[in-house]
Amino acid sequence: MAYVAIADRDHEAHLHDPDTFITKYIWSQDHKVIAIQYGLTAIGIGLVALVLSGLMRLQLGFPDTFSFIDPNDYYQFITMHGMIMVIYLLTALFLGGFGNYLIPLMIGSRDMVFPFMNMLSFWVYLLAVLILVASFFVPGGPTGAGWTLYPPQAISPGTPGTTWGIILMLVSLAVFIIAFTMGGLNYVTTVLQARCKGMTLMRMPLSIWGIFMATILGLLAFPALLVSAIMMILDSLLGTSFFMPAMLAAGEIASYEGGSPILFQHLFWFFGHPEVYIVALPAFGIVSDLLSVHARKNIFGYRMMVWAILAIGGLSFIVWAHHMYVSGMNPYFGFFFATTTLIIAVPTAIKVYNWVLTLWRGNIHLTVPMLFAIGFIFTFVHGGLTGLFLGNVVVDLPLSDTYFVVGHFHMVMGVSPILVVFGAIYHWFPKITGRMFNETLGKWHFWLTLLGTYSIYLPMHYLGILGVPRRYYAYGTTDFIPESAMTMNTGITISALIVAVVQLIFLYNMIWSVFRGPKADPNPWKATSLEWLTPDTPPKHGNWGPDLPVVYRWAYDYSVPGAAEDYIPQNQPPDATHKTVDDHAEAVEQAPQDDGAPQA
């Protein structure tokens, strides 16, 4: 049966260009506009979370100085900061933002397969964000249960925001999951169904592989969060006892009986661990592409990279309880989960080796996106290696719940993905806006961010080894925490504030360049993948003009021996590069494709 790209089929062939401002920018069904809407919303709410972290650092760095941050506020800040950064910023930005923008362009499709649902996905996501923000303005404020929302404390008195805040948080998460599912169905189906002619799975850029696998993880893992959110809402509002044991609440015996707090933790981390990879896999994919393009070299070990993504995705579902070594669960689980956790280090390490080996014998252009990509390798190696401490059950014992954990997950899940986000924004900025950014400002942004964040998180690991606990508003008097640790905290705060302010350089650079930046070349980095080969820059609605691209090769034909240029675009037919080496010579002429009807 003949294949016809979805986007070429009758009912979607006539993508009418939207004409009014509203249909073009607000109720748009164009994946690129939706991507930008997702991206801007995510960055907007992310800035809120950044401010919250600044306030927390002020309290930790200068205790007893700011009376407007009391313990109630502080625990609300840590909760909202964590949840926003993980879910509403990183997940939304990588999948809703980059996923939406890159999938159709990189696989040569006109749009997502369900554009209306795609649009709906964004608006539902926006609703989730608004519900979340609303919790700042309700009586009692947002929840202060920590981003893990562990019951019983999440819904029992003694924690901030147990009346309104926690309910809004849970509802917002449920709404977010609906939005994500609508988007996720789109991403998966689009990758599977709407690739252009010639785009085999193994010709896809690794960005798509990462986003694709992350979406599958999300689709299977978010239900765990949904289920636990529903059950916790019932516990809170209707008084059921799914998670709530017999307990004291505000000096009284509460009416709950027989619930299991550990059950919640299992459900939460069954979602929570894949969530780490939901953020990491797109970052892995994107960084692979950045390294390859700017080193003018094919990604080393492409097949291994794909398999590693698949392996990490699969393994990520059987490591969750390494977050629970000291939770009081059956201690024998420790053997199993420590083993699976350390096994997952192997494919992850292979990815790191292959990135570094991609640089080896390359032709490295230290452009701004490349700086961020290499910076990512450095921070990710650091964060990944400290993960081996926490994943190994016995080593985790002294370090669990200390600043070592905070340092680790900020390196691996905060700094590293965010460096990729910046690199990716700089990399695709010329395509998205049609203009170039200011390179000097970009480099300043990179250096200050890298050095600043490293000086924040490196010392935290050592505070953790000392035993300084996390999620503490203040440390009072203890015997084992020396004054020098508090001095260090002050230093960390200063670094954190500098890093926060440095992000203004980025915002200024982006905003200035969108309007005033010099016009960009359609393919400024001389990259091979399809998104650089659109007839228009920025691409118009429908992406490809009258004809869809046809792909003849993988996405990494850089510096192919004998080729005229040091890159061969994916849509370049073989005869245009006939000067290839022997094993390329047998390339066959592309057979004409008959335009059959869509198969039933």
Partner: protein, 450 residues
């Protein structure tokens, strides 16, 4: 070039920081030196990888930086190299995992004959139970927990009669004696952690968790809660005193057991009335307080709180800080109460006094005070009624000037700074919020409205 130099400097800096930083493990005070060993092994393995990968990367960036007329090498994959790297990585991982699992098997397996001690956590303090001479804990039932029975003991259970109940955040353990700590929570999740022991474990309401440890160094160590347990999480501190077997036995012999606590006669208001005659000179015949002589209102206050404060005064835990002249005065008065029974009697008498709202003496912006009270209400109650479970006294309808004075004392270290005043220390951490006079007045003005 500059890039590679910075990467190399970062690597050197990290390694230097590792060896030069003053922050490292606290000196170990338990048998778990093996845990430290696994951490060190992990540091070596990961450290080598960290240095090797980053230096290789920096070298590659220098050597293969962009040059005109040079093309990158074309090499899609190299199965042999990749297989080798996989094998080496697997070996490295096994090097860390194997000792880890080996030690974990020991951690979860308490030795035969380890003594058992129960640790009870609740928002936001610790208490402890020892099984007594029979070596068996009595049954507990959550529903029985009350002010008179904070451990929820089942009175009929014979095994529980000799259980020793320690209603204080200070835990005593004998040195060089393996002990299995049974962890139980009355309300939310907590985590019992002692940095010097290297171990920690969550307390989960509805179940009993455990870990075992053999303290090897005589001394005192901090117990911290390391599982977020609400707004007072950071104040949930305790102390563990590791002492010689003789000292431990002597201490244990002084602690009351369940049966003796149950037989202890209740306070007698009639006897208390006679004892109160001394107090009434300052605190007033009706316990209404008198600002002129700095005596706060007593009538209507939680009896658990009054008893504890009298004991604190008697034991030198309160009123001994340098500069606390008024406290020292009260300590002298409390010393006139000869016995624990006398303390109970006088508190019982105070419980019979009429509870009238005193005159307000502090003015401030109550709206601002309400905002400031947000954190306070978790322990002292939304109506300022106080919660016995949190050892938090009643605030509403009490002497406002006194509360303002006490917050200042807490803040300035005149109260709550004694190493044995762990509840006072909690309030001291909270009082740090009130750095200026105005905020204090606003708060008290709000309390006057409750």
């Amino acid at each position: 070039m500059a890039f590679a130099v910075v990467i190399i400097l970062l690597v050197i800096g990290t390694v230097t920081f590792h060896f030069a930083s003053p922050w490292w493990f606290t000196p170990i005070a338990s048998n778990w030196g093996m845990i430290d060993t696994t951490v060190i092994i992990t540091f070596w393995v990961t450290g080598i990888v960290f240095v090797a990968v980053n230096l290789f990367m920096a070298y590659a960036v220098v050597k293969y930086r962009h040059r005109k007329d040079v093309r990158a090498h074309y090499e899609p994959e190299n199965s042999k190299l990749e297989t080798w790297l996989t094998v080496i990585t697997t070996i490295g991982v096994a090097l860390m995992l194997a000792p880890g699992l080996f030690v974990w098997a020991k951690v979860i397996d308490a030795p035969e004959g380890a003594a058992e001690v129960e640790v009870v956590g609740q928002q936001w303090h610790w208490s402890y139970r020892y099984p007594g001479p029979d070596g068996t804990f009595g049954q507990v039932e959550h529903k029985l927990i009350s002010r008179d029975n904070p451990f929820g003991m089942i009175a009929e259970d014979p095994a529980g009669q000799d259980d020793i109940l320690v209603s204080s955040p200070v835990l005593h353990l004998p040195v060089n004696q393996p002990v299995k700590l049974l962890l139980r929570s009355k309300d939310v999740l907590h985590n019992f952690a002692v940095a010097e022991f290297r171990l920690k474990m969550d307390l989960v309401p509805g179940m009993v968790t455990y870990f075992w440890v053999e303290p090897t160094q005589v001394g005192e160590y901090d117990i911290l809660c390391e599982e977020l347990c609400g707004v007072g999480h950071h104040t949930m501190q305790g102390r563990v005193v590791v002492e010689s077997q003789e000292d431990f036995d002597a201490w244990l012999a002084q602690q009351p057991n369940f049966a003796s606590l149950a037989e202890q006669p209740a306070g007698d208001p009639v006897a208390g009335q006679a004892l109160y005659a001394v107090c009434s000179a300052c605190h007033g015949a009706d316990g209404e307080g008198n600002q002129v002589v700095n005596a706060p209102k007593l009538a209507g206050q939680e009896w658990t709180y009054l008893e504890r404060q009298l004991h604190n005064y008697k034991d030198g835990v309160r009123g001994t800080a340098e500069g606390d002249a008024l406290g020292a005065q009260m300590a002298g008065m409390a010393a006139t109460l000869p016995t624990d029974q006398a303390v109970r009697d006088v508190v019982a008498y105070i419980g019979t006094l009429p509870d009238n709202r005193p005159q307000s003496t502090v003015t401030g912006n109550a709206d601002n005070g309400k905002r400031l009270y947000t954190t306070c209400q978790f322990c002292h109650g939304p109506q300022g009624q106080g919660y016995w479970t949190m050892n938090a006294p009643r605030l509403s309808g009490m002497s406002d000037w006194y509360m303002a004075d006490q917050i200042v004392k807490f803040r300035d270290g005149l109260r709550g700074s004694h190493p044995r005043d762990l509840y006072g220390r909690q309030m001291a951490m909270m009082a740090d919020l009130f750095q200026d006079e105005q905020a204090l007045n606003d708060l008290v003005a709000y309390l006057n409205e409750l």
